[in-house]
């Protein structure tokens, strides 16, 4: 009984987090109070911020970026603080574990500044490594915050339209638009199939679970290939002739935003200069 229960819980947690939350990452962008801001502006603000974090590689700059991005998302975009923490907790744990691997080394000899005997080998590190690890963590976290600022306020279709303005080839843009749409169709399909497999005890033990997973994966691929043709017909029925053009709402860049971004970048440079 317990196994079955576990299996069901597993299905809800398919994204490490609950299923709803996965969808809500995309959904926040539509609810955001920053949604009416010009998408190109938001994408560039995020990119410039990330690049500044990397190039300046300064602890204080990164800390300031984290604060500024939190402010933007919580105050300007109107995302609930609790929701924000829950969204950021995924990259936070990823980063924490990944930086741990950078900070420590393994060695047969206690060659480091700080050594921990683990029997066959030593876990070694140094103050410098630990500090480096901390800086790396903060820098990455700042960059992730900037990225999240973009994704939590800008819908994927708008991000794609920005890429189009940046002259990414049309085929790739078309492909991206379609993939984005199909992702949600397949997710829904997968959800349904998974539920029906659960209903027939398809996850009762590991072996069955593997088999169910493989069959569902294969089946979804079959169905999606079949759907692809129907899709193409539906597009042609509406006069599609090889050029995928989408209507987009025009969102103007406001002077205040540009000024704000300039002040922000200048401030980052000042912090960097002062703490160099």
């Amino acid at each position: 009984m317990k196994i079955v229960k576990d299996g069901i819980r597993g299905s809800n947690n398919m994204f490490g987090h609950t299923h709803d939350e996965h969808f809500s990452i995309d959904c926040f962008a539509y609810k955001s109070k920053m949604n009416h801001w010009n998408p190109t502006y938001k994408v560039f603000l995020a990119l410039v911020t990330i690049i500044m974090c990397l190039v300046l590689n300064n602890l204080f700059v990164s800390l300031f970026v984290i604060m500024a991005m939190t402010y933007l998302i919580v105050v300007k975009s109107g995302l609930n603080m609790r929701e924000y923490i829950s969204v950021m907790s995924i990259p936070f744990t990823f980063l924490l574990l990944a930086t741990l691997a950078v900070g420590f080394d393994f060695s047969r000899h206690p060659a480091g500044e700080i050594n921990m005997d683990l029997g066959y080998f030593y876990l070694i590190t140094s103050k410098r490594s630990l500090l480096e690890m901390f800086r790396l963590f903060i820098r990455s976290y700042a960059a992730v915050s900037a990225l999240q600022m973009m994704t939590l306020t800008t819908s994927s279709s708008e991000i794609i339209s920005v890429l189009k303005k940046m002259h990414v080839p049309v085929i790739v843009i078309e492909m991206m638009n379609m993939i984005y749409r199909y992702i949600f169709i397949l997710l829904e399909l997968n959800n349904k199939m998974k539920k029906s497999a659960h209903a027939r005890l398809g996850y009762c033990d590991f072996r069955t679970a593997c088999y169910s997973f493989g069959s569902i994966a294969g089946n979804i691929l079959v169905v999606s290939l079949k759907k692809a043709e129907t899709y193409y017909n539906a597009m042609e029925a509406r006069c599609y002739d090889g050029e995928y053009s989408f209507l987009q709402e025009n969102k103007k860049t406001e002077g205040v935003h540009i000024a704000g971004a300039s002040v922000f970048v200048a401030f980052l440079l000042i912090i960097w200069f002062a703490t160099k």
Binding site: A98, E229, Y232
Partner: protein, 254 residues
């Protein structure tokens, strides 16, 4: 799957747990902001020739048969789905398929490169896996190195007349393992060990990822076999749509 194999997987999974540090870089994504600027640029540039090749082959395919556009887009969405699906695992740690081996078998490695970079971008946007500045490095390891290795293994095995199921298994397995090695290398170059340099660091990252990545590669190999069998049973017709790729032509003929 035999009970002995299950035992091996369980054993490896216990190892993974006991290792303690199971880096949650689950599908081997390097996070945003993790790589210093010069590696960002270097890996980005390294991807360009492969992506260009993929782009041109894609363009040629579309000129020949425009309908493949929706099929490829579906395939891209499918890769995203696969990589976001939690595969059954004993430990409960989250493990994901990369799907690159399967993709390479079905669509050929260069097309997977283009699809891969799009999928990775969506993963960064929608799931916060990976990032924009690390897109180059991630694309190289997951959408270029892995698929090319998988494809090469598949071709070689077919030439050697190895059983088809074994071919699929090995292709996906090697694809995954190669991705894992390349990612470890990328991290090692960016963060060389203080005492032992790049090589020591490389070994360290290999060791750290091994407990999750090796069983994962085995599972992915098995799942790829199951998926391919399902496809061959139910979707002979649909597979022939993908006939622009050699890998499938072989499958369809048989």
């Amino acid at each position: 799957m035999k009970s002995r194999q299950i035992k091996i997987i369980i054993l490896l999974s216990i190892l993974a747990l006991s290792a303690g540090i199971t880096p949650a870089v689950s599908a081997m994504h390097i996070m945003e902001g993790y790589l210093p600027p010069r590696y960002v640029v270097a890996w980005g540039i390294l991807c360009i020739p492969f992506l260009a090749a993929g782009y041109f082959s894609l363009k040629k395919t579309l000129q020949r048969q425009r309908k493949t556009l929706t099929i490829l887009a579906m395939a891209g969405a499918y890769m995203f789905l696969l990589s976001s699906l939690k595969i059954p695992s004993v430990t409960g740690s989250c493990s994901h398929m990369t799907g690159s081996g399967l993709g390479a078998l079905l669509f050929g490695p260069s097309t997977v490169g283009i699809l891969g970079i799009i999928v990775l971008l969506f993963q960064a946007i929608l799931l916060a896996h990976g990032g924009i500045t690390t897109l180059g490095a991630n694309t190289f390891s997951m959408a270029i190195a892995g698929p090319f290795a998988a494809y090469a293994v598949y071709r070689i095995c077919r030439k050697l007349k190895v059983n088809k199921k074994v071919c699929y298994f090995l292709a996906a397995l090697v694809g995954d393992l190669f991705t894992y090695c390349v990612t470890s290398m990328q991290l090692a170059i960016a963060f060389p060990s203080e005492t032992g340099g790049v090589s020591a660091s490389f070994l360290k990252f290999l060791a750290v990822f091994a407990p999750t990545q090796i069983p994962l590669a085995v599972i992915e190999g098995l799942l790829t076999v199951i998926t391919m069998i399902a496809l061959e049973t139910y979707a002979k017709n649909e597979l022939s749509y993908l006939g622009f790729d050699v890998g499938v032509k072989i499958n369809v003929k048989e």
